[in-house]
């Protein structure tokens, strides 16, 4: 599917080449022949109506799912060919994920939640502690270090999730509707945080149907409909 010609740049963090994902044979694909390149330092917002394939795209990038055809390359790694164990290691080292419903573990304290990725990766405990403390204060949730997630507000929980996602300094941060479950004020908080992170150099792929979120923190926007890219602001710019 090279003829669709994704421009190749040395600094690309993400490259999708003709990626198709079909869940059920016969059903229309959730993603249809998508090709895409995202450069380091970009904040890409993926827009589109419900069921258009946004989460599918994100899962493919995270190595949580495999394309039916096509290639997915992230940070130089061919994600679509990884074994289960290798894709776990890949996620640990290169991907941070933020979800709509936080997906914090209720039985772990804020600190333990944040430490988790480092512990799974086997980072020495001293270094992990230092990194967690740094992140928690950067995200202004250090007063809740010993609290359990259940006691925090939605915005605070999402900031804990972001801290956890950034723990292993991933080259790519993935966020699926990060403000979808938040009230306006908390949504604002998270939106500013993501914008701030991107300004500090973090590459972000952000799935949302909230256009204000996209406008506030995305450097580039694509729109999916029925699994195809309908609009790409980068293409327009070029």
């Amino acid at each position: 599917m090279r003829q669709h010609g994704v421009p190749t740049a040395a600094g690309d963090v993400i490259r999708l080449d003709g990626v198709t994902r079909t869940y059920q044979t016969g059903a229309p694909p959730a993603l249809a022949n998508v090709s895409l390149a995202v450069a380091a330092g970009e904040a890409l917002a993926v827009l589109g109506p419900s069921g258009s394939g946004k989460s599918t795209l994100l899962n493919l990038l995270a190595g949580l799912d495999k394309p039916t055809s096509g290639q997915v390359t992230v940070d130089g790694v061919r994600v679509d060919t990884l074994s289960e164990a290798a894709s776990a290691r890949y996620r640990r080292e290169r991907i941070g994920m933020v979800f709509q419903f936080f997906n914090l573990l209720d039985d772990l304290t804020v600190l333990d939640n944040v430490l988790l990725p480092a512990q799974l990766a086997g980072m020495p405990s001293k270094r992990a502690q230092a990194r967690a403390t740094e992140l928690l204060s950067y995200l202004r949730i250090d007063r809740h270090t010993r609290a359990y997630p259940g006691r925090l507000s939605g915005g605070e929980r999402q900031r804990v999730a972001v801290a956890r996602a950034l723990m292993n300094r991933p080259p790519l941060l993935l966020a699926d509707e990060p403000t979808g479950a938040l009230d306006t004020a908390s949504g604002h908080e998270v939106r500013n945080l993501l914008a701030q992170l991107n300004q500090d150099g973090q590459t972000i792929v952000l799935v949302t149907h909230d256009t204000t979120l996209a406008e506030a923190c995305a450097t580039r926007t694509i729109e999916l409909t029925d699994g195809r890219i309908r609009r790409d602001t980068a293409a327009v710019a070029r």
Partner: protein, 795 residues
């Protein structure tokens, strides 16, 4: 479950619930299956162990009196007329009968030519009859010449197989017959059966007949005496040459089977306990995992009562399937298990009584309904919002202290999470501990029991002592040794010298036995006098010491009980007007002669003036000596004298072998049920934590780390359960072994009960971990392989 319910919206929920949770449904069905099968087997064996003789006797219309009548004194008509005596309710016969002294032919486990015990051989055309209706344990009935059916079970029968041969040297023409079948006669009417024509040939025309009777009253000795008198009166004077009462056989039979009952009961109870526990586990699992669904369907407008009914149905469907299959499996497994007990009990073919099948299935389903009802009621009463909210995660907060404590340990994160997991759901943890604990206890008990029985069986006795045994003189009264009546009598002193001179002899002991009178005991008591290396001949001691010189005696438990003597007391042996007094120095494990036997130094008996000489030598060979060539060398020296060397074969052991086989089968089943219980609980746990698992995976937990996490979540439980279960198994053995011994009239030496070595105990304690890990392995693999996106999307 009626059709109406199944097609209602409620029914649809039930069916979809069963179908959707496929793994859990399969596990639940399988677990119920195994639990029910184990219960059917255990309960069946328990029932089987209740008065097995009486039940088998009733089933075979056993002969209450087996009479032997001389055909030369009584006419055929007179014999037949006894059947019409007023006390007789049923009779069979007359069958021709003969007493013969056979020797082993080819194909037997004994060397050809080995003299067998005297056999009562009866001519019968078939096993079925109005009285003593026998069952064939294997093979067919004798249908032509040169065929013989042997009595199955303990005794001579175990030395022969179908197709092996028995020779009758004292019958005309020394006929050799082929074993074509084995039959169980509960009334013990004969040792062997042939066709009537064959019997006539064997008995050389001597006309002895067997008549079998049942009477209106035959439950007491007095009644039996009256019945026997009635038969005697119906015959000419002196025609009744022998009669055997069923009460005597009952006594022996009950003595044999009694030892079996406590052990079967112990396993039965362990199996039943385990089944109840596991059924509880699976039902509570099935219902509690559905709390969230319950919330949702209540939100859709179902009443609490409808919810309860839906969930009882949901638990009942797999349970019912499992119960039916379990009953079938239990009955199939019962075939080999009951064959073992048949051999022990000497009864005919046994099957699981139908009422046991029904009772177990109904109890299991009642348990399921009861547990489901209680749990669904709770869930049904739950506020809808709460049910939805708490359905998918353990109540937050529980076990947090454990997590905090565990996270201080310098261990990898998956291990830490796994270790803390049991504390989040204490009830589930307790249930799992219980299952593994019972499994570990069963294994411990079974291993101990097997070792105990083997130790007790191999405990030295004059029958089992040494590798080689030499017999002097007649093998049996009237049967010359080596089949040759013209051999010179062997001098015990010369035989002893030959044995000493023979290279390969490590040590030996000679023994002579006789019967003496003992004050307070009616009838004779057997006494064995030892000479030679008497210290080596020491039996296993229950208390006190083996005799160290003349004037001392060692006796079994039952002897002490019968005489009221204790260690240190003096026992007086009388014979022919003379007497000797011996001091009792020890209590030994000796079940031969029904536990009524005195063991002493041969010179202790000099005072009786019997001139007793050793009739048997038991020889221990030096290690590395070839037994066969040793035996051949000795027999070459004995060529012209009445002495014969033979390898010492382990005899008997039917009860032990059967008990060991049964213990193995029941243990495997109990452990399998325990493993399935763990599997069920882990499946439940991973299902409820599927969301957490998804998060872990999204954060980069590898399949290997997931497996480690799940396995460590049960390893701690396995360890604790093993550590508690092992002493429990030991306690069970400590309780059961003396009961088994008591039932056969002996105390058990503590050496045969304290059979566990320290490394064994350690290994057994770790067995708990093995059970837990084995049960968790499959769900751990599933958890590792599960795709996280579904879990994460579920919000």
């Amino acid at each position: 479950m009626s059709g109406r319910v199944l097609s209602s919206p409620l029914g649809r929920i039930v069916r979809s619930g069963v179908g959707r949770k496929r793994v859990q449904t399969v596990v639940m069905t399988l677990t119920t299956l195994l639990a029910v099968a184990a219960s059917v087997l255990a309960a069946g064996l328990l029932v089987d162990s209740q008065a097995p003789f009486e039940r088998a006797f009733a089933a075979q219309h056993g002969a209450q009196l087996t009479a032997q009548i001389n055909g030369a004194t009584a006419s055929a008509a007179q014999i037949a007329a006894t059947a019409h005596a007023p006390v007789v309710t049923a009779s069979a016969g007359p069958y021709p009968v003969a007493s013969l002294h056979p020797v082993a032919g080819s194909g037997a486990d004994l060397p050809a030519g080995t003299a067998l015990k005297q056999m009562t051989v009866v001519g019968r055309s078939g096993p079925a009859s109005t009285v003593d209706s026998m069952t064939l344990a294997s093979g067919t009935w004798a249908s032509g010449p040169d065929q013989v059916v042997l009595r199955a079970g303990p005794g001579q029968g175990t030395d022969f197989t179908l197709g092996s041969h028995v020779t009758f040297p004292d019958a005309p023409g020394r006929p050799t017959l082929t074993v074509v079948g084995f039959a169980n006669s509960v009334s013990d009417t004969a040792d062997a059966w042939v066709t009537p024509a064959q019997l006539t040939a064997l008995s050389a025309g001597a006309s002895q007949y067997q008549m079998l009777y049942r009477f209106t009253d035959a439950t007491t000795g007095t009644q039996m005496n009256a019945d026997r008198t009635a038969i005697t009166a119906a015959l000419p004077q002196g025609a009744l040459t022998g009669a055997q009462s069923w009460l005597q056989i009952q006594l022996t039979a009950d003595g044999q089977t009694a030892g079996f009952v406590p052990f079967v009961a112990a396993f039965g109870i362990l199996g039943l306990l385990m089944s109840v526990l596991i059924v509880g586990i699976i039902v509570s699992g099935a219902v509690s995992s559905q709390t969230r669904r319950i919330g949702i369907i209540k939100a859709l407008g179902f009443t609490p009562a409808q919810v309860v009914r839906a969930y009882i149905g949901q638990a009942l469907i797999p349970a019912a399937v499992g119960a039916v299959l379990g009953v079938l499996a239990g009955n199939v497994l019962a075939i080999p298990a009951l064959r073992d007990t048949e051999t022990v009990y000497g009864t005919g073919r046994q099957t699981i009584p139908g009422w046991v099948d029904i009772a177990v299935a109904v109890t299991a389903l009642a348990l399921v309904v009861g547990a489901a009802w209680a749990l669904a009621l709770r869930a049904g009463r739950l506020r809808t919002v709460d049910a939805i909210a708490i359905g998918h995660a353990p109540p937050a907060g529980r076990g947090r202290w454990a997590r905090r404590a565990a996270s201080r340990l310098p261990l990898p994160r998956p291990v830490v999470i796994g270790l803390a997991n049991p504390f989040t759901r204490p009830a589930r943890t307790l249930a799992m501990t219980g299952a593994v604990l019972l499994g570990a206890a069963s294994v411990t008990f079974a291993l101990g029991l097997t070792t105990s029985l083997a130790d007790a069986q191999h405990a030295p006795q004059v029958a089992t002592l040494g590798n080689v045994v030499v017999n002097l003189g007649d093998a049996h009264p009237g049967i010359p040794i080596k089949g040759d009546p013209h051999l010179a009598a062997a001098s015990p002193a010369r035989v002893a010298a030959d044995i000493t001179a023979q290279p390969g002899t490590a040590t030996y002991v000679g023994s002579a036995d006789t019967t003496v009178g003992v004050a307070g005991i009616t009838g004779g008591v057997s006494v064995i006098g030892f000479t030679g290396d008497t210290a080596w001949a020491s039996y296993q001691m229950i208390s006190g010491q083996w005799f160290t010189g003349p004037g001392q005696a060692v006796v079994p438990t039952r002897f002490l009980a019968a005489t009221g003597d204790t260690l240190g007391d003096t026992v007086t042996l009388t014979k022919g007007g003379r007497q000797v007094s011996l001091r009792i120095t020890g209590e030994a494990l000796d079940t031969s002669e029904h536990g009524m036997q005195i063991l002493t130094d041969l010179t202790s008996l000099d005072g009786l003036g019997l001139g007793l000489q050793p009739q048997q030598f038991n020889i221990q060979l030096t290690s590395g000596t070839d037994r066969t060539s040793y035996v051949d060398a000795l027999n070459a020296k004995f060529a012209s004298i009445a002495a014969q060397a033979q390898p010492n074969l382990d005899g008997g052991g039917t009860v032990t072998a059967a008990a060991q086989a049964l213990a193995a089968l029941l243990t495997v089943m109990i452990v399998a049920v325990a493993g399935l219980g763990v599997l069920n609980l882990v499946v439940l746990d991973t299902r409820q934590r599927v969301h957490d698992l998804g998060v872990f995976k999204a954060l980069g937990m590898s399949p290997g780390q997931t497996i480690i996490m799940v396995l460590t979540s049960v390893a701690g439980i396995g360890l604790v359960a093993g550590i508690i279960g092992v002493p429990l198994g030991i306690l069970t053995l400590d309780y059961v072994m003396p009961l088994m011994g008591n039932a056969i009239g002996t105390a058990i030496p503590s050496a045969d009960i304290n059979v566990y070595s320290l490394p064994e105990l350690a290994a057994l304690a770790l067995g708990g971990i093995v059970i837990a890990l084995a049960g968790a392995a499959l769900p751990a693999g599933w958890a590792a392989g599960a795709r996280p996106i579904t879990a994460l999307r579920a919000e």
